[in-house]
Structures are given as structure tokens and as C-alpha cells.
């Protein structure tokens, strides 16, 4: 198999991260914002894997495991928060939760 240039992998990570960033900026639905954060974390992990493949070391994959752990913990806490917000406000609109008086 032919070897790839490192730019192609980093470009893919950058494009995926930008798509997730656009989505988290333009969406008003909280679940869609959580999904977009997952896309961005996955793109960051892809960049780590590409860098680890460049140097043929295991460190990039170790960092990917840490990102994976963080994403799993973040999505569980985030979904619990979304359930509470929907229970209180009866909507998924992120603009509805702009007052801090509970």
C-alpha cells in the first residue's frame, strides 16, 4: 500500500471539526448541540491518531483512549442535564434556559 501524506489526514480532521463547529453554532436544539460536540471530539481524536501514525508511536492512541473516556463521561452527564431541562421547561430550545432563577 502506498504511504499517504500527513496533510490528508489532518485536513480530514480539520473539515470534520469545522462541520461540528458550524453545527454547534447554528443549532438551537440541545440534543443536536451535544451531537455536534461529539463530532468535534471525534475529529480531535482523529488528529491524534494521524500524529501517532506519523511517528509510529503509541502515544497518539493513548490520547485517543483518554478522549474516548472523556466523551463517554460527558455524554452521560449531558444527557442527564437534557432530561432535567426537558422535564422543567417542556422544550429542547436552548434559548428557553437563559434565566438563572431555575
Amino acid at each position: 500500500m502506498k504511504t499517504l501524506p500527513i496533510e490528508s489526514g489532518l485536513l480530514l480532521a480539520g473539515v470534520l471539526f469545522t462541520l461540528g463547529l458550524i453545527s454547534v453554532l447554528v443549532r438551537r436544539n440541545i440534543i443536536f448541540m451535544l451531537i455536534s460536540v461529539e463530532i468535534m471530539l471525534n475529529a480531535a481524536g482523529l488528529a491524534f491518531i494521524v500524529a501517532g501514525s506519523r511517528w509510529a508511536q503509541a502515544d497518539g492512541q493513548v490520547m485517543f483512549i483518554f478522549i474516548l473516556t472523556m466523551a463517554a463521561a460527558e455524554v452521560s452527564v449531558g444527557l442527564a442535564l437534557i432530561l432535567q431541562i426537558y422535564h422543567h421547561l417542556k422544550t429542547l430550545d436552548s434559548d428557553a434556559a437563559d434565566r438563572m432563577n431555575g
Binding site: G14, T18, L19, A58, S76, V77
Partner: protein, 173 residues
């Protein structure tokens, strides 16, 4: 060549994710995107990470979000609401600005010297030796983070008790 096909699938599936109105459709495209990224991990010489991507991202996280959407019991009008929110003048500003930043990133990457990737496969044994050797502090902190995540999710997801015990009811009066 296979790398570019998988990259195109990942980018197209992600575009479909961020433009859907229906949440379940978006999550199904998200699974396709994660599977394409797993194929890329396999080609980059990280087969263990490809397996973890399929199991945890495409398996656990997406299924968790689908379960929460099922618990919320959303109706058809949520799709209409999403269609009303997702108008053109909402996404045109952030989209253009983010794409300008992406253009700068592409320019920086293309203008630098070309470096070829290694074809060497870094397997699970090497990752495990590194994980439990120099990175053991990170593993312990990950355990702490997961513990905090469990406790936080339990505390936040708990519903208020509606039925009080009869002793508590009598003291309230």
C-alpha cells in the same frame, strides 16, 4: 485510494448529520460517519482504536442518545419546529466565518513541507504497555472522571419524589 473514499464518506455523512431535521435520521448518519472514521483508523495502523471507535462511539454513545430521544417521546411537530429554527440567515454567518478559518488551516497545511505517514501498525500490546507504563497517572485520573460522571449522571437524572412516605407526610402537617 481507499483512504480518500472513506474520507469522502465521512465528510458527506457529517454534512447529512448537521442538516437533518429529524434527530433519528441524523443519528443514523452519525453512525455511518463514525464507521468511516474507524476504517481510516484501521488504514492508519491503529486497528485497536478502530475497534474501540465502533464499540464505544458508534455503539454506546449513539445508543445512549437514541434511548434519551425515545424517553423524551418527541412528536411530529418537533421536526416542524426544527425546520422553523434552521433558517438560512441563521446558518449563513457562522458558516462563512468557520469556512474562512478552515481555509486558513488548509493553506497552512498545504504550504508546509509534505511528510509521509508511516505504514507501521501500532497494535494493542504496544498501546497497553504505554498506557500502563508512563501514562498510569492518566489512567487513574480517567477512573476518577468516570466515577464523577456516574455520580453526576445519577444525581442529575433523578426525578423528584412525588409520593412521600407516610411518616414524612404526617410531619409536614
Amino acid at each position: 485510494m481507499a483512504f480518500y473514499i472513506a474520507s469522502a464518506i465521512a465528510i458527506l455523512a457529517t454534512i447529512m448529520v448537521i442538516t437533518r431535521y429529524n434527530m433519528i435520521h441524523a443519528l443514523l448518519y452519525l453512525v455511518v460517519s463514525f464507521l468511516a472514521v474507524a476504517v481510516i483508523f484501521f488504514m492508519l495502523g491503529a486497528p485497536f482504536m478502530a475497534a474501540l471507535e465502533v464499540i464505544i462511539y458508534a455503539g454506546a454513545i449513539v445508543v445512549l442518545i437514541i434511548f434519551v430521544i425515545m424517553m423524551l417521546n418527541l412528536k411530529e411537530e418537533s421536526v416542524e419546529q426544527e425546520r422553523k429554527w434552521f433558517t438560512r440567515n441563521i446558518w449563513i454567518g457562522p458558516g462563512i466565518l468557520a469556512f474562512i478559518l478552515l481555509g486558513e488551516l488548509i493553506y497552512i497545511l498545504v504550504a508546509s513541507d509534505t511528510v509521509l505517514l508511516n505504514n507501521k501498525v501500532v497494535d494493542a500490546k504496544e498501546v497497553g504497555l504505554s498506557l500502563y507504563g508512563p501514562y498510569i497517572v492518566g489512567v487513574e485520573l480517567s477512573g476518577l472522571l468516570l466515577m464523577a460522571g456516574i455520580v453526576g449522571a445519577y444525581h442529575l437524572g433523578r426525578q423528584k419524589r412525588k409520593v412521600l412516605h407516610r411518616f414524612l407526610q404526617s410531619t409536614e402537617e
